[in-house]
Amino acid sequence: MTFIKDFINVLSAGSISFTLLTSIFALIVYFNLLGGRIKAVGGMAFIGLGVFMLLMGIFVPPLLYLGIAYLLILFALARLGGRLWDTKVGLRLFVIGGLAFGLSMLDPNFFLIAAKPDNVPIVAMIFLLGFFTWVALRKAYLNDTQIAVGGIPWEKTESDEKLFTWPDLVYTELLCMILLTIVMIVWSVVLRAPLEEAANPTSSPNPAKAPWYFLGLQEMLVYFDPWLAGVVLPTLIIVGLMAIPYIDTNPKGNGYYSFRERKWEIGVFLYGFLVLWSFLIITGTFLRGPNWNFFGPFEFWDPNKLVPLVNVDLSELMWVKVLGTSLPKLWIIREIFGLGLIGAYLGLPPVMAAGPFRRFYNKMGAARYYVGAYLFLIMMSLPIKMVLRWLFNLKYILHIQEIFFNV
């Protein structure tokens, strides 16, 4: 038991769980697990990665866990394949999840975090997200199978069929309202709304957390300066969401569940929604304890826990460590590497437009292509920065305190 708890504790560390999720995600999307088969090359690649991690684990112990997790999940997915979308399997997965949660609640530390009144909705959200993701992908899978054999999605089969609003729609709405009211009342009776001590502007609680739905942002703040994580990125999230209908010119998949017909759109969206947003919220809520330190779900929130958090800037890394000189005085020279790196990153779309993505470029037109590409790049900057932080303790790629401009 202790081993499993330790395993999960280590696994849930941002550097591992996030990497894991990201790559599993790529696995699902790219290799189209929905088809029920792992392509040999991809499968081998992941197995190779897992084995590599295992070997590296000798030097960097956490990687051992990562490798084990990789292989376990890969194994499970390979076994399940398309049966993942079978109702019975789904139900079983759901029950297993519930059981695991119930068992975990026996752990006092886990109970303390998960049973906190304000965290209960987030626990519910985890299950709801899991359930609905499964539902959506299942429906997409069924439709895709249908389309693959030359059929049409079932939504279309009944699109001509119209029902009277009264009683069909009105009745279900009424029932939903009643049931929801029941849920709300029971929830309110069972859980007391939290009320802590009176506001005291001179003493911060430890940890001081934002409302839970902004914890993703607060988590981002660990990796980016506030102006980016708190202002620019949230703005771009909204802008990005609003831009979706105008960038996505794929006429397929309008009004029905489908995956194959819009693999990239769904992949990117799900990555942003599930991993970059929901997963970070879950991390921020359950796994960030006193002093914003990372705590595994079964770990005691000890305010005295000490974690080394020494960071370096890219300029220091390059000038001092690699080149072995001191930092140049003039910021434009000092930050030449950061500027270069960012320039290269931002220069990717035009290069790609000329190269591999020519097809996209031509299809979408310049405006759509560039807006979409840059939004995507900015979205991906978060995981990139996270990985850089974990690998190199990198604090800033670009650090111009002269004008307060840090990336």
């Binding site: 029902l163 069909d168 029932l175 049931l179 009211t181 009776v189 001590e197």
Partner: protein
């Protein structure tokens, strides 16, 4: 109805119908749930339970009231009523006609009354019209005026008529009443008899909760707002607001919601009932209760007896608050409606649930009992009726910022308002607690920014001359473990404590290392102290006789502040054991215990110290007893016999060079690089290294906080500031790994650490290093608070003060003792406490610790309770400055010492006494010259009452040294009355003669004028005696003074006030009016104080050479 048109559905309507039905039923159920959830609240059960208890009690009382006797009386009355009605029926006609006449008159009266009122209203209106017409110069002014006058007249007529009619009506009424009188009388009597039962019935109705009773119905959900019986009670206190972080929010105390009987007498616990009934009985016996309340008090005592005899005790939320005459009671100084509860007890004011109210357990057992069943019922539905099985719903609530003070710490709440007072009236616990804090000098290391604990002197002696007083060897052993030398010392143990050497918590290897380091530190401290010490030479004493010295020590008053033994007989076991501080009164722990003083120091130092303590250091708290050279030599000889040779036998190892080096380097590298530190150390000699380390160690342990040490002037005290310690959040207290743990105390008993602030502080005081248990810490990071070897009681008291020091502020008008008069008094009380006056005197009714060493109460130092009313301020001033200006009772061996008070200090004391005695400080009474006649009468009375038996009236030539009457029975002597005019207040003398026992209970002065128990007036023994043959000659002498008026003479002889005034006049007339006044330095001209003589050349030279040698080290010394 038309048949339905079939249509396609997505879902089966039949199934939806079922879902609809089920979910609607579900909604109905949860609607019930929400109502139930809101309705069932924890506090309601307490109220229901209390109502049940009230019902039981009322039913009992009804049974008592409706005794068989009463029933018989009632039956008789009913019979009488019946007969009266029969009689009335027999005279029906007469009665009816009378009634008719009265009815008619009523009509007339009504009419007349109405006429009068209407006319009055008209008149008022007319007056206004008339006034206005005059003011506005209307043409009809005169006419209106006439009309007004007419109406006035009319009204007068009507009034006469009304009065007439009223008279007639009353007569008619009387006529009717006459017929009804008998019936009415019987009814009245019946009412009277049943009144108490009726009242009880009414009360029973109020607490009735039977099913379907009015109360029950109105307590049902949704109806419980109409006229709730079960309801939240609260007290809103706007001016005792809660400081909610820069904001004052009214305090809303809802404690009474559960603590129902808190302000209602009759629900006391058995212990409180026993205490209270005893107190009341005493008052009753002493006629301290006014006549009209005696019966009531007796009833109350009977009630309290019933409570004591009841089979079960009343349990806590329903108990009456103890001491209702002091707290909560409406007539007390802290009435519930004005003070509420949480201002003293703390806790969450608005909370209505046990768990949220901030109740704090006092013991792990209590905590367990409270919390036990929380998990079972989740705290929602506290249904079980059984008290023991109840779910208290306790859980530690980190969000209550001010948890209640647990049991044994209640009086901590007094500090908030009473911090401007030295003692809290009737708050014995807190008074003793603040005294304990002062005695141990907690304020020296821990700053307490609070009037009570500021401006106090450093508790330890000045160490600037330590080398003159003792040897390094002694000092080393003393610092190592002071308790080995004296079991009662207040010097705490810094070294070899639990976190350093206790084998149960320190691994052996680390332990050995720690011991080395500790030794090095002690060596270093000793080296520093002796290095910086002065080396004055003190003149040696002459030859002394130890036996005589012992006698002097026992008689002049040394034992008021000092104790001369370490062996006491244990009260429980009867065995001789080592003394604890608690074995002696607080005041006697003020000076050191004489035990071992001969081992500690040398003859010259003792001799000179006794002669003039201020010569050794100016702030010495020890006063001078003005011993002669010979006396001082004797005392020195005696004290030198107090040896403790065994103490000096413990071996001392030389300091471990490596340990000194490591420790010193540890400090040096804070500011130097490793290499520089090493260089610096290498440039120092071994001794210099020690001195350097000593400096650092003294800084580390904060020795300078209690002792004056050269090189540490003006440093901040070493400990945490305690000014608002009681408000510090629980999570800021470092429990280490000791939360909810136990430890074994010195007696092998188990002590618990529970997760509350008082528990933390208490355990910290009991075992200061306990929170280091199981922690891995660097040597210098380990806890360093020293061990005072406090007993549980002392630790509890000090902890009580600590948790009582909060940042909560109350409005100034609620603070106790802020008025100007009290400020004067409190400042004086502070001096009294600082100079330990209570060692010898009774002040404010407390003190005289020395009493246990003096066999005969007649030789006690005086009781100063009435001093303000008694002594003239000029005398007091001079006497305090220099007690030799007058010897009042020269036969008493205890001496008033010379304290060398400054003028300012003396004034504070004099003002204190005058204010406390409610007297103006200066008066002209000394110049009052009584008439010769009064003096003559007074003289006769003086003789008649035989005052001369004890009091001498021979004029004193020299107040500094009055002759002692030549008698063997010095115990029966009283002060020479010719000194009275210099010393006593004019008005006080007669008052004192009248009621000496009331002013100073147990005084030797006889009460010649006993009080009359009935009237409370004074009786004169001469009233009767003057007519007896024995007094014939006095009568003959006196009669001419009353111009032969015997009646007047006898009247005077029976008038205690007049007689005492005559006595006073006589005493005044024989008084001398010249005395010496104190010199500025407060020393008698004849007193020669020894002064230290510095060694002529050698010492300074030696010092300077040392300084030169130490020069390199100085750079890294305290300056940086």
């Amino acid at each position: 109805m038309k048949p339905q048109e079939p249509i396609p559905h997505n879902y089966s309507i039949r199934r939806l119908n079922w879902i609809f039905a089920l979910s609607s039923l579900g909604l109905l159920v949860v609607t019930g749930l929400i109502v139930g959830y809101d309705y069932i609240r924890g506090w309601k059960w307490f109220q229901l339970e209390f109502m049940r208890m009230q019902r039981e009690r009322i039913v009992q009382e009804v049974q008592l009231a409706s005794s068989a006797e009463n029933k018989q009386l009632l039956a008789n009355l009913d019979e009488q009523t019946r007969r009266n009605s029969l009689e009335l029926a027999a005279h029906r006609d007469q009665y009816l006609s009378a009634q008719k006449a009265f009815d008619a008159m009523e009509g007339d009266h009504y009419r007349a009354d109405q006429d009068y009122r209407f006319a009055k209203a008209n008149l008022d209106a007319q007056r206004y019209i008339a006034e206005v017409s005059i003011v506005q110069h209307r043409s009809d002014a005169a006419q209106q005026q006439t009309e007004y006058e007419r109406q006035t007249k009319h009204l007068a007529d009507l009034q006469v008529r009304l009065q007439e009619v009223t008279r007639q009506r009353d007569a008619a009424k009387a006529n009717v009443d006459q017929w009804l009188k008998k019936i009415k009388d019987a009814e009245d009597k019946r009412k009277e008899l049943t009144a108490s039962v009726d009242l009880l019935d009414k009360q029973l109705n109020l607490v009735d909760m039977d099913r379907f009773s009015t109360n029950w119905i109105l307590s049902q959900p949704m109806l419980d707002f109409v006229n709730p019986v079960i309801k939240i009670d609260q007290v809103v206190l706007n001016d005792l607001s809660i400081d909610m972080n820069y904001m004052n929010v009214p305090r809303v105390d809802r404690c009474q919601t559960c603590h129902r009987a808190i302000d209602t007498p009759g629900w006391e616990s058995k212990t409180e009932a026993a205490r209270l009934s005893q107190e009341l009985q005493q008052k009753l016996d002493a006629y301290d209760i006014p006549q009209e309340k005696r019966k009531e008090t007796e009833g109350r005592i009977a009630e309290l007896k019933r409570i004591q005899d009841a089979p079960s005790d009343i349990l806590n939320p329903w108990r009456t608050h103890p001491k209702l005459d002091l707290f909560v009671g409406s007539a007390s100084v802290h009435p519930l409606l004005e003070y509420g509860c949480t201002v003293c007890h703390r806790g969450q004011d608005r909370a209505t649930e046990f768990g949220r109210a901030g109740h704090t357990p006092a013991s792990p057992r209590m905590e367990h009992r409270w919390a036990e069943r929380t998990m079972l019922t989740g705290g929602f539905f506290p249904l079980p009726r059984d008290f023991e099985k109840r779910n208290w719903g306790y859980e530690e609530n980190e969000f209550v910022e001010t948890p209640m003070y647990p049991r044994h710490y209640y009086e901590a709440g007094c500090i908030k308002c009473h911090s401007g007072q030295m003692s809290v009236d009737r708050g014995d616990d807190i008074t003793k607690a603040t005294q304990t804090v002062e005695l141990y000098g907690c304020y020296a290391c821990h700053k307490i920014n609070n009037w009570r604990f500021s401006d106090l002197r450093k508790p330890g002696p000045d160490l600037g001359g330590i080398a003159e007083k003792t040897t390094p060897e002694w000092a080393f052993r003393w610092i190592s473990e002071p308790h080995d030398f004296r079991s009662t010392t207040r010097m705490p143990s810094f070294f070899y404590q639990r976190n350093m050497v206790d084998p149960s918590v320190v691994p052996p290897q680390e332990r050995a290392h720690n011991i080395k380091l500790q030794e090095a530190e002690i060596h270093a401290i000793v080296s520093y102290l002796f290095d910086k010490s002065t080396h004055r030479s003190w003149s040696p004493p002459g030859a002394g006789d130890a036996a005589r010295g012992k006698q002097i020590v026992g008689s002049v008053g040394c034992l008021g502040c000092h104790v001369d033994t370490e062996q006491v007989k244990d009260e429980k076991t009867g065995r001789i054991r080592l003394a604890k501080r608690e074995d002696f009164p607080l005041e006697r722990n003020y000076g050191f215990n004489f035990t071992g003083v001969g081992t500690k120091t040398n003859a010259a130092w003792i001799y000179n110290w006794i002669k003039n303590p201020k010569a050794y250091y100016t702030d010495a708290p020890m006063p001078s007893l003005r011993l002669t050279d010979q006396e001082a030599s004797d005392v020195t000889a005696y004290l030198l016999t107090m040896q403790k040779p065994g103490f000096m036998n413990t071996p001392i190892r030389p300091p471990d060079a490596q340990a000194v080096h490591d420790l010193a380097k540890g400090y040096l590298i804070n500011t130097l690089s490793d290499r520089d530190a090493e260089l610096r150390l290498r440039s120092m000699s071994g001794h210099d290294q020690l001195v350097y380390l000593g400096h650092r160690s003294i800084e580390k342990y904060g020795c300078y906080s209690c002792h004056n040490i050269k090189g540490f002037e003006g440093l901040k005290p070493v400990g945490t500031e305690l000014t608002v310690e009681g408000s510090k959040a629980l999570h800021l207290f470092d429990f280490g790994f000791m939360n909810d743990q136990q430890w074994k105390n010195e007696d092998g008993a188990t002590e618990h650490v529970i997760h509350t602030v008082p528990s933390w502080v208490y355990n910290k005081l009991r075992n200061p290093r306990i929170y280091d248990d199981r922690r891995t810490k660097v040597y210098n990071d380990k806890l360093k608070m020293p061990n005072f070897h406090l007993t549980p009681e002392e630790a509890r008291r000090i902890a009580m003060v600590v948790v009582g020091l909060t940042k909560e502020k109350v409005a100034e008008n609620r603070m106790a003792g802020l008025d100007a008069r009290t400020r004067f008094i409190e400042e004086g009380r502070k001096r009294v406490s600082q100079h330990n006056c209570r060692a010898c005197h009774v002040v404010d009714g407390r003190g005289r610790a020395i009493a246990s060493t003096i066999a005969d109460a007649n030789f006690f130092p005086p009781d100063l309770s009435p001093e303000g009313a008694r002594a003239q301020s000029p005398f007091l001033f001079n006497f305090l400055k220099d007690p030799t200006v007058m010897k009042i009772r020269p036969w008493v061996s205890v001496r008033m010492p010379t304290f060398h008070f400054s003028d300012e200090e003396t004034n504070t004391l004099v003002t204190f006494f005058a204010q406390e005695g409610q007297r103006s400080q200066f008066d002209t009474a000394r110049n009052v010259n009584p008439t010769a006649q009064n003096v003559m009468i007074g003289k006769q009375v003086f003789t008649m009452l035989r005052c001369g038996q004890c009091h001498v009236t021979t004029p004193v030539q020299n107040p500094e040294n009055p002759p002692v009457p030549n008698t063997a029975e010095t115990a029966s002597l009283a002060p020479n009355l010719t000194l009275a005019r210099l010393r006593l207040r004019h008005d006080w003398i007669s008052d004192w003669i009248r009621r000496p026992n009331e002013m100073i209970p147990g005084t030797r002065m006889p009460a010649n004028f006993p009080r009359d128990a009935a009237t409370g007036g004074f009786q004169s023994p001469l009233a009767m005696a003057i007519d007896t043959p024995q007094f014939a000659q006095y009568k003959a002498t006196l009669l001419p003074l009353f111009k032969g008026d015997e009646k007047e003479l006898k009247r005077t002889m029976s008038d205690a006030v007049a007689l005492t005034d005559y006595l006073r006049d006589y005493i005044w007339s024989i008084g001398i009016i010249q005395m010496r006044t104190a010199s500025p330095d407060g020393q008698a001209p004849s007193m020669a104080m020894p002064q230290p003589s510095l060694p002529p050349v050698a010492a300074p030279a030696a010092k300077s050479t040392r300084n030169q040698r130490g020069a390199p080290a100085a750079g890294s010394g305290p300056g940086r």
